[in-house]
Amino acid sequence: MISRWRIGFVTAGTIVVLALGQAHAASGIKIGVAGPITGDQGAIGEQGKNGAIIAVEEWNAKGGVLGKKIEVVWGDDQHDPKQAVAVANKFLNEGVAGVIGHYNSSCSIPASTIYHGGKVVQISWGSTNPQFTERGLWNVFRTIGRDDQQGSVAAAFIAKKLKKTKVVVLHDKTTAGQGQADEVVKALEKHKIKPVYYGAITQGEKDYRPVLTAIKQKNPEALYYGGYYPEAILLTKQMRELGMKAVFVSSDGVWQQEYIDIAGKDAEGAYVTFTPDQTKIKEAQGIIKKHKERFGSEVGAYTVYSYAAANILIEAIAATKSTDSPKLAEHIRKTKWSTALGPIQFDKKGDVLVSPFVVWEVKDGKFVEVR
């Protein structure tokens, strides 16, 4: 009998503790930050998380917004659409004023319908799939360019600047990578260039020599790769190892110091499309310095996007003096923002009006903007 009571007490106690844990009262303004913080894309999630942390800490150091401190609520979606929806519902429950995220388009899109239903503004820092904004939802924005915006810059560069005609286009079969590669193919056609090889590799694998060996037979002069830096490192190294001389051109996902550090000499002379030099943008100075102090490393590519997204959201709250989402959305849409990414203006759909992509070159172990 006694043991039964004991079990009852323990169970009841556990429930009470859990309930209390859930119900801690909130006084500040909450902002949801979402992305794949664990799982296979944890590295990218961390970048987005860091950007938002720095933005919020800067604001809190200045006394917060509307006289209240800003609180960050995490939402780890693990790169899983189902969990993204759970995170979205959790955010609505917690009463967030807005959401910075998600990263993967496959997470942002299903989550955005939840945010739309719950009337919450969502600014993605990494979803590049055109479909994210094409559905006419009033609450979605993104600080990152669309896949189609970046591809045309790269294609023009290959055709006009490099004057290469034998081009290989590869991608990693992710939404962003394929979107960029397809856009490059489309834009190259305008310059009367037809790729000599078009194909995909599998993300996460380590050996791309077989497909590169096949590509080598076509004697390409340039190789465009739509994807992220780990695969880009391997492609670059293995290309050179096989004795291929083609110029390596890639997208913003490769603009990472690791690309140069790990690929070493092989990375020299590679080109990457990315936003203009952040060290020359006044608004970006804060984050570049703070990131080094706070996390002991250089900013990652997505850190700045999420930093800019968080700043836009908080500034909108400060300017409209409310957390009412339709008001926030309207303000975000009509304001000309000056952000760490440079000047940004949103169009009706929530995309950045002019995507500020330029071409960078790897020179002496550094990314240098190509004039």
Binding site: T38, D40, G42, A43, G45, E46, K173, G199, A200, I201, T202, G204, E205, K206, D207, R209, P210, V211, T213, A214, K216, Q217, Y229, P230, I233, L234, K237, E241, L242, G243, E258, D261, I262, A263, G264
Partner: protein, 300 residues
């Protein structure tokens, strides 16, 4: 091009084979698909980097000397061996007499745990591997074979031959075979079954560690997630060759590597895994216990 693709495929296959050996040994002795084996391989790669940075930070050995490479391999083998034995002790031994699928689930738990442990301890970003050791290569008409590719192939073959000798010729190998055939009988003839199983995990994990360090050197890039794909591929290789058979694992690994390389090179890089699995199904339809898989009574 064909020659180059064969080189590519054989190197890739040697790595799969080394990891597959661990699967096959563990399977042979306790009939468990050790899903955590891929993570042990990942731990090996990380331990290689750690050993390298310790050795160079304290100027113990010259960065690109053979001694450094040897010590890196040794450290990784010891560390992974210890991890393998610990995992077995904690997660599999208590389940020795449980229903067949229960240890499989605890293996998955271990796999998730180790992956996240490494992510937390070493950070989620990709790490570069020191690429100082084996440089150069041999050019041949239509391609090139690098020294490290030769090194990987030779090491894999040596490891396999050594393992085969260990299992066939030594006393401990005899005990392993006895344990694989019948644990109860093995106990009756005075074999410490628990110890033999620990030794099996030790050897299998040490082989995975070697694979980890070699892969790190070959590709120059590792992260906490590399065990996942490598684990699936190595498991496929082990089954293709006949799970439980040591030469089978080697053959399966090489074959899988070749199929992948030729599939990606000549047909389609996107669908190469589909071909690999399709060939696996075909092989199994005609030889239901893999290429070299023997009767169930002749494991290890």
């Amino acid at each position: 091009m064909l020659l180059q693709q064969l080189v590519n495929g054989l190197t890739l296959g040697s790595v799969y084979a080394l990891i597959a050996l661990g699967y096959t040994m563990v399977y042979g002795i306790i009939e468990l698909i050790n899903f955590a084996h891929g993570e042990i391989y990942m731990l090996g790669a990380y331990m290689g980097i750690v050993a390298f940075s310790v050795l160079t930070t304290f100027h113990l050995t010259a960065p690109s000397s053979g001694a450094t490479l040897f010590l890196m391999l040794l450290a990784a083998m010891l560390f992974c061996g210890a991890c393998g034995v610990t995992v077995e002790r904690l997660a599999y031994r208590p389940l020795r007499n449980a229903p067949r699928l229960s240890p499989l689930i605890s293996a998955l738990g271990v796999s998730i745990f180790l992956q996240n442990f490494v992510m937390l301890a070493q950070g989620p970003r990709d790490k570069g591997f020191p690429h100082l050791f084996i440089r150069g290569g041999i050019d041949f008409p239509g391609g090139r074979i690098s020294s490290i590719q030769i090194f990987i192939m030779v090491t894999s073959v040596l490891m396999m031959v050594g393992l085969q000798l260990l299992v066939r010729r030594t006393k401990i190998g005899k005990a392993m075979r006895a344990t694989a055939q019948d644990k109860q009988m093995a106990t009756l003839v005075g074999i410490d079954v628990d110890r033999i199983i620990s030794v099996t995990f030790l050897i299998g994990s040490a082989l995975a560690a070697v694979a980890g360090v070699m892969v790190g050197m070959y590709y120059g890039l590792i992260n906490f997630f590399i065990g996942y794909i490598a684990g699936i591929k190595a498991f496929t290789a082990a089954v293709l060759g006949g799970i439980g058979s040591i030469p089978g694992a080697m053959l399966g690994g090489l074959l899988l590597g070749l199929i992948e390389a030729l599939g990606a090179g000549y047909i389609s890089s996107e669908y190469k895994d589909v071909f690999a699995f399709a060939i696996l199904v075909l092989v199994l339809v005609f030889r239901p216990s893999g290429l070299l898989g023997a009767d169930i009574s002749k494991r290890v």
